[in-house]
């Protein structure tokens, strides 16, 4: 195995297998992945900060076996920030917090192409700072159907004084986030609220939307997965790469942009590649910033 020791911000980091092609049908090596995360670091780090990272590692690339790793790998450099979180059985588990560039580089070097984080910060694991609608197209539905649902959601929530923000999942779906950023919010509330919204959507658009998990209900429809609003669940972090044939990214889209793209009926335009993600973020700034700071209240609970 080839190794190279580098120094990021004065901290030593050993990088391995830089030439290994982890997206073989596209041609994207470990070095490319590190370069992408370095370039996007300014944008992604605030969204990873203080959240218990779940690594999704593809040591042999996107076409081979992967594994999730919630526990922070024990063979880690001493400068990696960690914290302890309680598991379901009450035992503590050490998890990584990606709070700086070094840690992001180290995590990327572990071939953790995808970075998944909970909706709550590690020191307040029961307090979601946003509510999410995970729009997942069933068989014979696509990302354009998701875009339609996302736009209806935006319009449905806006009279309730709830601004929302959309990003691509980097796979087939879209994610709509409603920032809350209030310390009294609980997952029980976000779950109750999002479930009510999903069911109202299903009642009013029965041919387009389902609020039910079971696969047989999802055909030709968009599943609004409200159950992601749970302390035990994680979401793909905005700006994270996805493990697909090409290095697509979970990327934020302005509503006007989404409206345009939905009108053009070209699903390909809703897939943002690594290069486009980096240059668009640099040009437009972080379109997901409000998700971290905007304070909103869920009414009528």
């Amino acid at each position: 195995m080839s190794r190279r020791v580098t120094e990021v911000a004065g901290k030593r980091l050993s990088l391995s297998n830089l030439e290994k092609d982890l997206y073989p049908s596209y041609g994207f090596t470990k070095a490319h992945i590190l370069e992408y995360y370095r370039r996007i670091s300014w944008f992604i780090l605030p969204h990873l900060k203080d959240r218990a990272l779940t690594l999704k590692r593809y040591p042999e690339g996107v076409e081979q076996e992967f594994f999730f790793e919630k526990r922070c790998p024990s063979h880690r450099p001493s400068w990696v920030t960690t914290t302890e979180i309680a598991q379901d059985n009450g035992e503590l588990m050490t998890v990584c917090l990606v709070n700086d560039l070094n840690t992001l580089m180290w995590v990327a070097n572990l071939a953790s192409l995808e970075l998944h984080v909970p909706l709550a910060r590690a020191d307040s694991p029961e307090t979601p700072d946003s509510m999410v609608f995970d729009l997942d197209p069933g068989d014979q539905a696509d990302i354009l159907d998701c875009a339609r649902v996302a736009l209806i959601l935006r319009d449905l929530l806006s009279p309730l004084r709830l601004a929302s923000y959309a990003k691509t999942s980097g796979k087939k779906g879209l994610h709509v986030y409603v920032p809350l950023n209030r310390k009294e919010v609980t997952f029980e509330e976000t779950k109750t609220f999002s479930k009510a919204v999903a069911e109202v959507m299903q009642r009013n658009y029965p041919d387009l939307v389902t609020a039910k998990m079971a696969k047989e209900h999802r055909k030709k429809k968009v599943f609004i997965n409200w159950s992601q609003n749970d302390s035990s669940k994680t979401m793909i972090c905005v700006y994270s790469l996805r493990a697909r044939e090409k290095p697509f990214v979970s990327f934020p889209l302005a509503w006007s942009n989404l409206e345009n793209l939905a009108g053009q009926r070209d699903p390909e335009k809703l897939q943002i590649t690594h290069a486009e993600a980096a240059s668009r973020a640099e040009a437009m700034g972080d379109l997901f910033r409000e998700v971290l700071v905007k304070k909103q209240k869920l009414p009528y609970l």
């Binding site: 929530l157 109750t192 069911e199 009013n204 159950s227």
Partner: protein, 271 residues
Amino acid sequence: MKLSSGGGNETAAQGIWSGTISFSLVAIPVQLVKAVEPGRVSFRMLHGKDYSPLLRRMFCPREEKMVPPDEIIRGYEIGPDKYIVLTDEELESVSPERSRTIEIIEFIDMKDVDSIYYDHPYYLVPSKGGEKAYSLLAEVMRRANKAGLAKFVLGEREYLVAVKSMEGALSLITLHYSEEILPDEEIAPQDGKIESEEKSRMKKIIKEMTGDFTPEKYADERRKKIVKLLRKKLKEKATVEAPAVEEEEGGGPVDLIAVLEESMRKVKKSR
């Protein structure tokens, strides 16, 4: 899917605790890290009929129902159906104060400590600025064949520990308290008449079987076989999937539903 085949050989830098080793006027900043990772293969318990993962819950046999965590307290059993109840506060009041030092009380000969006292091993890693003092202590203890006997608080307990030198590094091993060691007086047989002929024969056998300690020669065979079996089943795609948890429909706060329906009417009108 994760299937690692064994503990790695790299030094685990998993800090469990950080503080200082101190004695006399010396203070060495260190981190305590794990030295062993038991290679046990652990399994999740599943419901056989649909592979749902199962949870452990506390069950009250009298009421025949599950007991929520806020109704659970601790009792020390003193006889059939008789307990002394201790509250969390009472337990906390007797816990040692958290401390940031491994206070060496005396230096001892490690030979004098029977291995029966050994409990759990850790490595000590020097923290920034402590490297020099760390190496000095490790080197001097190695030459003098001494280990530091220390008291040390980790979590809720105070431990008796030995700080040892180990090839230029320091290790820490927690020791059992003497009251934890079970008596051994009756283990050695009383009438120990030994014929010198038998003795020399035994000596000879041992000599013939003498080897250097090479732990790499041995491995947990059952673990190896389980991992091999798991790999094979993974390759054969002999995996099962738990069903998604289906939640019932309906409900939700009445006012919220009404407001959402009202908002929805407007959305539909404007489209």
